[in-house]
């Protein structure tokens, strides 16, 4: 279908070229189109194209990751999601196709076997579809995985851009500050305060102080460590923003737990030392 169109456009554009050059140009374009189609088929981009309908197809590749990052736009996810995201075996996809929702004809390139399937009877579709369901599901799954990996890279890039002003030394300084604060507090509590109240009360007060003063400290660079987990969460259609926030919360909880361990350890060691010296008993 496309070669004549391409031919006409190219002939309009390059009227000044000689016939052989024009032919060469047409051949080159044809090859490029074919490779693009093949790549799209491999990446599974054609599947979501049908759902987007009249949306700009050219800008799709640029637009897609931004949509996923916005938490308030759940419809930004390709609507083929439920059919592929959960089961790569495509059992859902088959059911969706049978219900009469957008058929998979636009999922593949024009002239491919799926176009013929669209016009065939439903019973015939299921019979022919069964052997092809596996590879299609796998393709969709792979395309989603690729999408997730791109999103992850983008997330990491954004985080790095945000924290470009700060470096790892400052993070270490803040962590060191937290740890030293916990140690000093444990010593003070053991010597002066602990006879009056629980040892955890001053610790949580200190954590509140840290939370309050956190914004005044330079933000450290936090890389995504759990890459497989992140990819898995992205694949299961959880918004990237939510994952990012959850991971931030998780890391903060980890910091608090570390502080608590250091605090408790210092307290117990100090207590044992005081008992050993014999100055004070429990």
């Amino acid at each position: 279908m496309e070669p004549p169109v391409e031919e006409s456009t190219s002939s309009e554009e390059k009227g000044s070229l000689s016939a052989s050059q024009r032919r060469a140009e047409i051949r080159r374009r044809k090859l490029l189109i074919n490779s693009e189609d093949r790549m799209k088929r491999i990446m599974g981009f054609t599947g979501s194209k049908k759902d987007d309908g009249d949306r700009a197809e050219g800008a799709r590749n640029e637009f897609e990751p931004n949509v996923h990052l916005e938490p308030g736009k759940p419809d930004g996810w390709p609507s083929s999601a439920p059919s592929a995201g959960l089961s790569p075996l495509c059992s859902d996809a088959g059911s969706v196709e049978q219900k009469g929702s957008p058929l998979p004809e636009s999922r593949s390139t024009p002239g491919s076997y799926t176009e013929e399937r669209g016009s065939a009877a439903p019973g015939h579709v299921t019979r022919e579809e069964l052997p092809a369901a596996g590879p299609q599901g796998l393709q969709q799954y792979l395309s989603h995985f690729d999408e997730a990996m791109r999103l992850r890279e983008q997330l990491t890039g954004e985080k790095l851009a945000q924290d470009s002003s700060s470096d790892t030394e400052e993070l270490d300084t803040f962590r060191l500050f937290r740890l030293i604060g916990s140690i000093v507090l444990a010593l003070i509590v053991r010597v002066f305060v602990c006879n009056c109240l629980s040892i955890f009360a001053p610790f949580f007060t200190l954590q509140l102080v840290y939370m309050g003063t956190h914004k005044y400290f330079p933000k450290g660079e936090r890389k995504m460590k759990t890459t497989i987990l992140t990819a898995a969460l992205l694949l299961s259609r959880i918004p990237a923003e939510l994952i990012s926030r959850s991971m931030d919360t998780y890391s903060k909880m980890g910091d608090i737990f570390t502080d608590l361990c250091v605090y408790f350890f210092t307290f117990v060691v100090c207590h044992e030392m005081l008992i050993l010296i014999g100055s004070e008993g429990p």
């Binding site: 629980s198 408790f264 350890f265 117990v268 044992e272």
Partner: protein, 170 residues
């Protein structure tokens, strides 16, 4: 007396485990050196190949083709032997590394299980219960002694602190 130092015993064990873990690569390489005594033979082969290559460069290919070809074949043969040797040595080294790692993890698990077994009912140290007031049951787990610090809590705390210290040192 011994019960009074239980906290220190646990701390020492955790520290020892972590130190050994950092030394695992060195231990593996030492053991591979001990078990692989034919490293000298490999060096000899390398030297021999180098010598033959030097000799080959001094021979004119056109004038003494037969000698040149013979020497070249010899070099190729020796190189193949060296490659096979290096391959087997690398495989053996990986095997030793794997065995050392497995042994370490088995010993660590045995040590931790024995510590937990020993201090299951007794706390490693005892504090006044009001000091750790809202979390005393959690801290005392699994001993159940009011105000006691249980072995699991203490193991977790020690592991975390030792990891931080080693990270800072390393």
């Amino acid at each position: 007396m011994a019960a009074g130092y239980a906290w220190f015993l646990v701390l020492g064990s955790v520290l020892l485990c972590n130190l050994v873990k950092t030394l695992l690569p060195s231990i593996s390489s030492f053991l591979s050196k001990v078990f692989q005594k034919d490293a000298e033979h490999e060096t000899e082969m390398r030297m021999e190949i180098q010598g033959m290559k030097q000799e080959l460069s001094s021979i004119s290919m056109m004038d003494e083709f037969a000698r040149y070809a013979r020497l070249e074949r010899k070099i190729n043969k020796m190189t193949d032997r060296l490659k096979t040797h290096v391959k087997s040595r690398t495989a053996q080294q990986a095997k030793i590394k794997w065995v050392v790692n497995i042994m370490y993890y088995v010993l660590q698990a045995a040590l931790m299980i024995s510590l937990i077994w020993k201090y299951y009912a007794d706390p490693v140290t005892v504090l006044p219960s009001k000091w750790i007031a809202p979390l005393e049951r959690l801290v005392a787990f699994p001993s159940g002694v009011a105000g006691g610090v249980g072995i699991t809590t203490w193991l977790v705390v020690c592991n975390k602190v030792v990891a931080i210290v080693l990270q800072a040192v390393g």
